[in-house]
Symmetry: C2
Subunit: 100 residues, 2 copies
């Protein structure tokens, strides 16, 4: 493979990464919107925001659905970050509502 | 809204989160496979694995494509984790190849 051929192949693969990233981003925002709806219902029904058992189920769902190449540890760390950012979003939203 | 109604609505929304999570997971694994291909080409062409400029482009791509509700900071942190886990996967893979 010449350097030019390698570069051309890399460019194509990177374009594909960028496309996948935008789809991941769209799904993350879609997930955030559903979590916002969940937060609204919990607020109306006066249910606790934080439910550790539900988080366990989230991990179980993705770990049992993981076909790799990402390891179980990687999947867990990725979804820890996802859950954490959703919680941050909820907190920001509640603070904004209180300030209004 | 009665407690039963709230619970039924939550159950539905959580089912939808679980579905979105599996789609996110699938895309993360798809991304990992493309990154593995990129690694293979870089190895053959003796190109550096770590390219900070390319990482900046990855962030630019998702930040400019973000329609919310996730904040720019959240998107950056999420993709930092994604990039980090892809790098870990590459390192594990190279260590395994060396050991063979």
């Amino acid at each position: 493979m010449t350097n030019e051929e390698a570069q051309a192949a890399l460019d194509l693969l990177r374009k594909s990464v960028d496309e996948v990233d935008l789809r991941i981003l769209e799904l993350l925002n879609q997930r955030a919107k559903v979590v916002e709806k969940i937060g609204d219902i919990k607020k109306v029904a006066a249910l606790p925001i934080y439910e550790p058992k539900r988080e366990d189920m989230v991990f179980q769902n993705v770990l049992s659905g993981n076909g790799g190449p990402l390891s179980a540890g990687a999947v867990r760390r990725l979804f820890e970050r996802i859950i954490d950012e959703m919680r941050t979003l909820q907190r920001e939203r509640m603070a904004k509502e209180k300030a209004q």
